[in-house]
Each structure stands twice: as structure tokens, then as C-alpha cells.
């Protein structure tokens, strides 16, 4: 197995994992504020078509990425209005958001079937990107890959080291207490939900602009659900979600390579591997019941209504 081969496999793993990183980290922020948004799949797919349509119409990759983020945020705003002000059930509303998003994206995307996008420009620093091994691996990606890493760092820092992050976590742990000391619970939750939407939209933009630069109905193919699982897997910690996404993406790609190399393991078992690995790690992490409960936001999924 040559170095080139290894680099190629690693590059594929990075592009496969990036959309999951975005969606999972966004959902962590929303859930840390106490809002369970099961509409990640719907926000992702709308982000994907928003980004793709804008990319085709304007030809500008930056506008396309922004439009993807905005589309995801718009979906999140609908969710926020319904669950935060109208106090609808978060689980049911999230599921409805996914179904709505898939339908809406199909409607908007109808005219974009069969059109291809040139893809996002990749970083290319003369002399550095050409370095063996390190060059293409660290300095040869599109901007979204770097943005995904930056967002993990930023979210981890925000949640643990800033006052605003503390307020957000307080709202997620006990909204009545947070309300009584004067935090604007609804506003904070809306912001968190919108951030989740922006990130899911970026994840969708990754799919339709970089990963497979085309539009087909239902192209997220369940990645939003995997991102949701990663949040629990990561016990609501951004870095764990990052590694979880790469573990999942990595095993998916490695099993494809193993099949091509004729490894004598039934392909059905290889296809199960990413999921098995996720479950095994989840079991290992959640062995410690106290810490698991410590990490999960206590008010997750519960509606807040100020009663005076």
C-alpha cells in the first residue's frame, strides 16, 4: 500500500466526514440550550438545494455557501417559532420539519436536476500543497473543511469559556431557574436553534457543492439522522462529535476499500461496521451513568412557558 493510496483514502474520509461535523456541532449547541431539533435532515437538505440553486444562478461559490447557511437558518426559524412561542411538541415538530424540508427541496430543486456545479475552489499554496503526504492532507481542501474545524474549536470555546456559553447551558439545564435570574430563555434558545440551522445548512452546502456537486432529490440520504446520533455519541461535546464524525466517515470509506481489495469478510458485515463501531463507543462512554446524565442537558426537549 503506497503513500499515495493512503493520502487518497484519507482525503475521501475528510470530504465524507465534513458534512456530519457541521450538522452535529450545530445540533449540540441547540440541544445544550434545551431544544431537541429532530429536523436536522430537513434543514440539511434545504441548505443543500439553497446552496446549489444559488451557485448555479450566480456562479459565485461564496454566495452559494452563504445561501446554504441562510436556508438552514430559515428552516430553523420556522422550527423555533413553532416550538418556542407556540409551544408545540419538539419531537413532532422536528419530524415534521424533516418531511417538510425534503418536500420543499424537491419542489425547488425540480428545475436543477441534471445540472452540474463546478465545485468549490480548493486551497492551493504553491510549494506547500505539493509537499508529499502533508501537503494535500493539510493544505489542499476547500474552505468548508477548514471552516468545519474552526467551528468545532469556536463552539467548544464558546460553551465552556464564555459567559454567553454559560447562560446558554444554564437555560438548557434549568430554564425556570435561568428565567428567574433574568435570562431571556426564549431568545437564547432561538439563537441556539438558528445556529443549529446555519450549521446544518452548511453541512447541506458541503454535500451539494463539494462532496457530490449536483442536485438530486433526497441526496442527504439520512446523514441528518447520523448527525443526531453523533450528538448523543459525543455526549454533547464538540470535539467528541468531531472525532465521532471522522470515525464514522473513516470506517465507511475503509470498508469500501476493503471490499475492493477483496478482503474475505462478507460485505454486509463491512457495511454494518460504521454503525457497530458507533454503538460500541456509545456503550463504552455511557457505562458511567452519572457522567452521562451530567452531560445531557436536563431540560432537553421540554417546552418553556414563563408563568410569572
Amino acid at each position: 500500500m503506497t503513500i499515495d493510496f493512503l493520502v487518497a483514502a484519507l482525503l475521501t474520509i475528510i470530504t465524507a466526514s465534513t458534512p456530519l461535523v457541521f450538522a452535529a456541532v450545530g445540533e449540540i449547541v441547540a440541544e445544550k440550550s434545551g431544544v431537541l431539533n429532530l429536523g436536522v435532515e430537513g434543514m440539511m437538505i434545504v441548505g443543500a438545494i439553497g446552496a446549489f440553486a444559488t451557485g448555479i444562478i450566480t456562479g459565485d461559490p461564496i454566495l452559494a455557501v452563504l445561501a446554504g447557511a441562510a436556508s438552514g437558518a430559515l428552516m430553523a426559524f420556522i422550527f423555533g417559532c413553532l416550538t418556542l412561542w407556540l409551544l408545540s411538541n419538539q419531537v413532532a415538530t422536528g419530524l415534521a420539519l424533516t418531511i417538510f424540508g425534503i418536500g420543499l427541496s424537491a419542489l425547488v430543486g425540480h428545475q436543477f436536476v441534471g445540472v452540474t456545479f463546478a465545485g468549490l475552489p480548493k486551497l492551493d499554496i504553491p510549494g506547500i500543497t505539493d509537499l508529499p503526504f502533508i501537503g494535500p492532507l493539510l493544505f489542499g481542501h476547500d474552505a468548508l473543511v477548514y471552516l468545519s474545524v474552526i467551528s468545532v474549536i469556536a463552539v467548544a470555546w464558546f460553551l465552556r469559556r464564555t459567559r454567553a456559553g454559560l447562560a446558554l447551558r444554564a437555560v438548557g439545564e434549568n430554564h425556570d431557574a435561568a428565567h428567574s435570574i433574568g435570562y431571556p430563555v426564549i431568545l437564547i434558545r432561538l439563537m441556539a436553534v438558528l445556529f443549529g440551522g446555519v450549521m446544518a445548512g452548511l453541512g447541506g452546502a458541503c454535500l451539494s457543492l463539494a462532496y457530490t456537486p449536483l442536485w438530486i432529490e433526497n441526496m442527504t440520504a439520512g446523514r441528518g439522522w447520523i448527525a443526531l446520533a453523533l450528538v448523543v455519541f459525543a455526549s454533547w461535546r464538540p470535539w467528541r462529535a468531531f472525532f465521532g464524525a471522522y470515525l464514522f466517515g473513516g470506517i465507511t470509506i475503509i470498508q469500501l476499500h476493503a471490499q475492493g481489495l477483496g478482503v474475505a469478510i462478507p460485505s454486509q458485515i463491512l457495511s454494518m461496521l460504521p454503525y457497530i463501531a458507533t454503538i460500541v463507543v456509545l456503550v463504552l462512554i455511557s457505562r458511567d451513568d452519572v457522567r452521562m446524565r451530567f452531560n445531557a442537558p436536563a431540560c432537553l426537549g421540554r417546552s418553556f412557558h414563563a408563568t410569572g
Binding site: 454535500l207 441526496m219 440520504a221
Partner: protein, 357 residues
């Protein structure tokens, strides 16, 4: 979305009822689709057939369709609804509609039903499918001729006879023009996941494949091939647009001719149950334009094979053919019968991979 579409369909159907009978009663033809028309593959091609029916018969027919119908209890309801609202001929276009179609057909003996890719017929239920393996034979000839690394990558969905037959047909054809060729086969356990199909294509190319064939539905693999500068074969519909340089040829499912023929039969009262399994000869398969970069003699050979299959003088499974263990599948000089083709569940000799069971 399913619910929304079905609700819309129900409204449309109700509107149709209220409109009352027209002067010259048109034949109402219904279509049940498993996916969205925008899939650019399986369902898209069926809808092209529906449009061809509309064009061929104009005012004589009235077509309607329901998209994204799950293969299960919902299918019964949708099919029955079409029958209830005066449709005289109903096409159900996915394997999983087989039992629902048979059940509904028993309740509506005066309605004609057509079920794609199934094997259960009744007095008012006909079945039809295409010999996709004929197209894979031609694609295999081209792939075997243009490969320089002698490695062809194949993205497969599920190990069912339909898919295994396609792999075997392509492999035998590629070997017949290039004895050094080998196949790398990756099973992705899905019909449709653009990301995963693209990743499978990348893995195969990284392992030396310079032609990608697929039995999955999205054009993602073709797009990866374009990006990496290797060849690929399109699936189900003409996929040229997704990778103009990489695209060798697409094997296109063509239901139009069959649908027009059957609607004609229903119109003139000659409709009867039947079991159709047609390929190039019945125009149920077509080839897209070839890539201009393919050498002329290769195109000539591929076209000759296509024509020979169409007229029946060439069968893609002509003996001697052994399976991987050396057991004789088709004797020297014989051709495989349809029963053997429909149940094919072993790789032919020469494929160095283990078929998942």
C-alpha cells in the same frame, strides 16, 4: 412529502370525478411511481413513457401519476384509489407493488393492470421488465476495450439475481475482448446514496480502476470519474451531462414503446394478460450516444453486438460458462434459458471476489 403528494393526488383525482364524463370518454391511464420523477433514473424513465403515451394518443387518453408511493400497505390504497376513480389501465412500476397489484386487481376485474419487474400474473394483470443484462453486455465490451489498467470497478447495490446477472454479463463481455481484465466489486447496500456511491467510485479508482460501472441509481460515480479523469458507464437514463468526458455510454431504460403498445391494445379492446421481458429487440433498452473519444472500431464492435442481440443471433450468456467453482452453468454452444437467468446467484468463472450471500 409522501403524505403531501398523496393528498395532492387525491385532490386531483376528486377534481377529475367532479368534472363528469366528457363527450368522447378518454381512457384514463394511471401510473404508480416508487420514487420522485426528479430522480433522473428509474422513475424519471417511467415518466418519460407516460409522456410518450400522452403525445401518441392526445385526447384519447388522460394520464395521472402518484409519486413516492412506499412499497407496502400504502401501495394498496393508492392503486385501489386509481381503480376506484375510473382508470382503465394502471401501471405499477416497482417490484414491491407485486402483491398489492394482485390484491387490488382481484377487487376490480374490469380494470387492466400492468406490473413492472414482477412474476405474478392474473387475467387482468400483465407483467413486464427489460433485459438490462443485454445493455450491460454492450457496456462490458466497451469497458473491456478502453481500459488501460485492466481493472474495471463495479459499484453494486444488493446481491439479488438482477444485480449478479448484470455483473456476470458485463464481466463475460469485457473478458471476451480483453483476456487480462479483472473486476473489483464494491457493494454499497443501497440503491440511492449519492455520497456513498461517489465514495465507492473514489475507492475503486484509488485501487487502480480506470472504468467505473454501477448498478445504483445516482450519477455521483460518473461525476467522480469525470473529476479523476477515468471512464464510467451511465445507468438507467442518459447521464452524459454529469461527466461529458468520462461518460462512455449509458444504457437507457425505455418504457415508451411498451406503454404506447399496451395503451393502444387497451383502447382497441385487444388487451390481454402477458409476460413481457424485452431488451434491445423490443426497444425496451436503448443506448445513449457514445463518447467521441472511443476508438471507431470499438464503437463499431459494440454496435454490431447490439444489433446482433436485437435480432436474436447473439445471446450475452452463450456457453461454455462455468461458475467460480468450475461447475458448468451453460454448456458449450447453448444459451442460458430465462429460468436460469432469473435465478442467477453465483459469479461466473474468472471473477476474483466472493459473492455476499
Amino acid at each position: 412529502m409522501n403524505t403531501v403528494h398523496r393528498a395532492m393526488a387525491a385532490c386531483l383525482l376528486a377534481a377529475g370525478l367532479l368534472a363528469g364524463p366528457a363527450q368522447a370518454e378518454p381512457l384514463k391511464v394511471g401510473f404508480v411511481y416508487v420514487g420522485p420523477i426528479g430522480d433522473h433514473g428509474w422513475t424519471y424513465q417511467h415518466d418519460q413513457g407516460r409522456l410518450a403515451v400522452e403525445e401518441a394518443f392526445g385526447d384519447q387518453v388522460e394520464t395521472s401519476y402518484v409519486e413516492n408511493v412506499p412499497e407496502g400497505a400504502d401501495a394498496d390504497r393508492v392503486i385501489a384509489q386509481l381503480a376506484e376513480t375510473g382508470h382503465g389501465l394502471i401501471f405499477t412500476t416497482s417490484f414491491g407493488y407485486m402483491n398489492p397489484t394482485i390484491r387490488v386487481a382481484e377487487m376490480y376485474p374490469d380494470v387492466h393492470f400492468e406490473h413492472a419487474t414482477g412474476y405474478k400474473q392474473a387475467d387482468n394483470v400483465a407483467t413486464y421488465s427489460a433485459r438490462f443484462y443485454e445493455g450491460r453486455h454492450v457496456a462490458g465490451l466497451v469497458a473491456g476495450s478502453v481500459t488501460e489498467s485492466n481493472v474495471i470497478g463495479y459499484i453494486a447495490s444488493f446481491p439479488i439475481p438482477e444485480v449478479v446477472r448484470g455483473i456476470n454479463a458485463a464481466f463475460l463481455a469485457a473478458r471476451s475482448v480483453n483476456p487480462d481484465v479483472s473486476f473489483k466489486i464494491v457493494w454499497v447496500s443501497t440503491w440511492f446514496d449519492p455520497g456513498k456511491e461517489g465514495d465507492a467510485a473514489k475507492a475503486l479508482i484509488d485501487q487502480g480502476a480506470d472504468v467505473i460501472m454501477q448498478h445504483t441509481d445516482s450519477p455521483a460515480a460518473l461525476q467522480v470519474a469525470q473529476d479523476r479523469g477515468v471512464w464510467a458507464v451511465g445507468q438507467a437514463s442518459d447521464m452524459t451531462a454529469f461527466g461529458p468526458d468520462a461518460h462512455l455510454v449509458s444504457v437507457v431504460n425505455n418504457w415508451a414503446a411498451y406503454y404506447v403498445r399496451r395503451v393502444q391494445a387497451a383502447l382497441d379492446g385487444s388487451w390481454g394478460t402477458s409476460d413481457t421481458w424485452g431488451g434491445f429487440g423490443a426497444d425496451m433498452l436503448l443506448l445513449s450516444a457514445y463518447n467521441k473519444a472511443i476508438p471507431a472500431d470499438v464503437i463499431e464492435m459494440a454496435d454490431a453486438a447490439r444489433a446482433a442481440i436485437a435480432e436474436g443471433s447473439l445471446h450475452p450468456f452463450t456457453g461454455p460458462i462455468n461458475d467460480q467453482d468450475g461447475n458448468l452453468l451453460v454448456a458449450d454452444g447453448e444459451v442460458a434459458d430465462d429460468g436460469m437467468l432469473l435465478g442467477m446467484s453465483v459469479y461466473v468463472e474468472g471473477i476474483e471476489a466472493t459473492l455476499p450471500q
